[in-house]
């Protein structure tokens, strides 16, 4: 059985930052593996460890700088990785879920996976739609926001819990092949071991351009155009206590006592 797991390097913005055009000035950004994808990788690796003959392939869309991040997936146990990048992608505007799904679907067409695991959303742009869009492209069944997964390979069914709002979970049986979008908390993502990190260096990391995938620049044209990026005006009217920690704590204590707290 083959599992494709999608991973993305995401930007984390510092407390103080500046906007540069339609993005955040790179000086105020650190990059890391998307939190949700970390759980998806762990879910894939756990299936691999529990069963026989399971191959885990990580796939990402990103330039060469993202290689360190995708190697994290290899260090945690993915067997090999695929990175899609192209000058046309570097020049493209918004990479919306439809565009990303098209690219990953082209990879999936080569790989022919039985199961695709994605994160529920990416921490930076939070579209939360790539997984389901991908399923539609592949003609796979799917489930969004999965926080419990029990795979019955023989029956070709994934028994999942979907985490709905308000502390309610939906129990669903999903026929394979399927795309599942993985929610945080479904497992405990491992830290990569030193051995894992070393091994990751020699694992295969293939690079595909659009042409390698049989796509052209026209396939990544999106009708969505990002036109502005700005800091929202604070809607708040919070009273902010100023001063040293002792001073602010004392003011807060006064307020709390007024409200009858702690007395």
């Amino acid at each position: 059985m083959k599992i494709l797991v999608t991973v993305k390097e995401v930007a984390d913005v510092d407390d103080e930052f500046e906007i540069d055009g339609l993005g955040i000035d790179d000086r105020y950004v650190t990059y890391d593996l998307n939190e949700w994808d970390d759980y998806a990788v762990e879910a894939a690796v756990q299936i691999q460890e529990a069963g026989e003959d399971v191959e885990v392939v990580a796939v990402t869309i990103g330039d060469t700088d993202t290689e360190d991040t995708i190697r994290q997936a290899l260090a945690k146990g993915a067997d090999r990785a695929v990175r899609v990048w192209d000058d046309a992608l570097a020049a493209a505007g918004l990479l919306d879920p439809e565009t990303k799904a098209r690219l990953i679907a082209a990879v999936a067409a080569e790989e022919d996976p039985d199961l695709v695991l994605t994160g529920v959303q990416s921490a930076d742009d939070g579209f939360g739609a790539t997984g389901v869009t991908l399923a539609e492209h592949l003609g796979f069944e799917w489930a969004a926001v999965v926080n419990d997964l029990d795979l019955d390979r023989e029956a070709g069914v994934a028994h999942v819990h979907r985490e709905l709002e308000g502390g309610v979970e939906e129990l669903t049986d999903v026929e394979l092949p399927a795309v599942l979008t993985i929610q945080t908390g479904i497992n405990e993502p491992r830290y990569a071991s030193l051995r894992g990190i070393r091994q990751a260096q020699s694992k295969e990391l293939a690079e595909y351009t659009l042409a390698d995938l049989g796509l052209t620049a026209a396939d990544i044209e999106s009708p969505l155009e990002q036109t502005d990026l700005y800091e929202p005006e604070s809607e708040g009217d919070a009273t902010v206590f100023e001063g040293s920690a002792e001073e602010t704590a004392s003011e807060l204590a006064g307020l709390l006592r007024e409200k009858g707290v702690g007395s």
């Binding site: 930007a11 984390d12 913005v13 407390d15 955040i24 919306d96 879920p97 439809e98 799904a101 921490a123 930076d124 939070g126 579209f127 939360g128 739609a129 389901v132 869009t133 399923a135 539609e136 492209h137 069944e141 489930a143 969004a144 979907r162 709905l164 709002e165 308000g166 502390g167 309610v168 939906e170 129990l171 669903t172 049986d173 999903v174 026929e175 908390g185 405990e188 009708p223 969505l224 990002q226 036109t227 800091e231 929202p232 604070s234 809607e235 708040g236 919070a238 009273t239 902010v240 206590f241 920690a245 602010t248 704590a249 004392s250 807060l252 204590a253 307020l255 709390l256 707290v261 702690g262």
Partner: protein
């Protein structure tokens, strides 16, 4: 243009967001001189239709297919209905279920999709506003297409009010059962547990800013000094540091204490959904841009490891 919204319900209850979509949809229909249609799929569709008949709704389409949500059914039905009413804009809740079918419908219709939209406007073309990087910045997206789909963030638009005089018709969808390849077998209520955070008058709520599990002692000490209960944001539950019954938010509990003290919590939308109804909100966070300050009544923009010990001191 013709706007089609799709209501959401679960276990017999119409969800509030269904009425909010009507407000968002009406605004766009007005901006373009078009009609507002709404659809409800499955469950007690007649009763739901009555509740959806608010001012400004032109047509309600009921689709009597199943009791509960199934994305394969919804995808087929909404796709067919969008064609049948010749919709230009599809508006779906940005909920866990909305995100389980809207991307599939949009893809099938070959319409662009913008998710988690917090504002919409129309001036020759649709412009959607959404947030990035955990609500630190906002972005506008122009939709260069005649037709599009959006998912709308709950609680951003007010619920539509009044009584309408919409036409109600039963839409006869053609659902291909062989394409229904997932089956909902039940629901599970999570939680229970020993602590009832919904019952507390004062909540000391802790987030990822606490950094290490050992540091939680500090929070419990504060709670003891204040005679308060400890609650938390999701990452602390995901890490296994605290039990699920202490989680505040969209997928945890909705709390409305007299005082809610958010310590090292950024104020992500899914967290805020669970605590914005608190009487007084206090935030302690090093990041002056953290969205929690947008809803806080009082704030301290400082290191929790300095402020919390000083606060404990105050109460000893």
């Amino acid at each position: 243009m013709t706007v089609l919204t799709v209501a959401e319900h679960r276990r017999g209850e119409l969800r509030d967001v269904s009425l909010e979509l009507l407000t968002a949809g009406r605004e766009l229909a007005d901006a373009t001189g078009g009609e507002l249609h709404t659809a409800v799929v499955g469950g007690d569709v007649e009763a739901f239709a009555e509740r959806l008949d608010r001012e400004g709704v032109d047509a309600i389409h009921t689709v009597d297919e199943g009791e509960e949500f199934n994305h394969d059914v919804y995808t087929q039905v909404v796709h067919q209905l969008a064609d049948a009413v010749d919709a230009d804009l599809l508006v779906v809740p940005n909920s866990v279920n909305g995100l389980d079918y809207a991307p599939a419908v949009a893809s099938r219709l070959d319409w662009p999709l913008v998710t988690d939209v917090v504002d919409l406007s129309y001036d020759d073309e649709l412009t959607a506003t959404r947030e990035l990087y955990g609500s630190k910045v906002e972005t506008t997206i122009d939709v260069h297409a005649d037709r599009a789909a959006v998912t709308v963030r709950p609680a951003e638009w007010p619920a539509a009010e009044g009584t309408g005089d919409a036409t109600v018709d039963a839409f006869d969808a053609d659902v291909d059962e062989s394409a229904v390849r997932s089956t909902v077998t039940g629901f599970e209520e999570v939680g229970g547990g020993e602590v009832d955070i919904t019952d507390a008058d004062v909540l000391v709520s802790v987030g990822r800013g606490i950094e290490e599990e050992e540091n939680l002692n500090l929070i419990f000490d504060l709670a003891e000094a204040l005679d308060a209960t400890v609650s938390a944001s999701r990452p602390l539950i995901d890490n296994g540091w605290l039990a699920k019954d202490r989680q505040v938010g969209q997928s945890g509990k909705v709390v409305t204490p007299d005082v809610y003290i958010a310590i090292g919590i950024s104020g992500a939308v899914q967290h805020v959904a669970g605590m914005k109804g608190s009487d007084t909100i206090v935030a302690i966070n090093t990041d002056p841009n953290a969205p929690i300050f947008d809803i806080a009544d009082y704030g301290i923009q400082d290191d929790l490891f300095e402020v919390v010990p000083a606060l404990i001191e105050e109460f000893q």
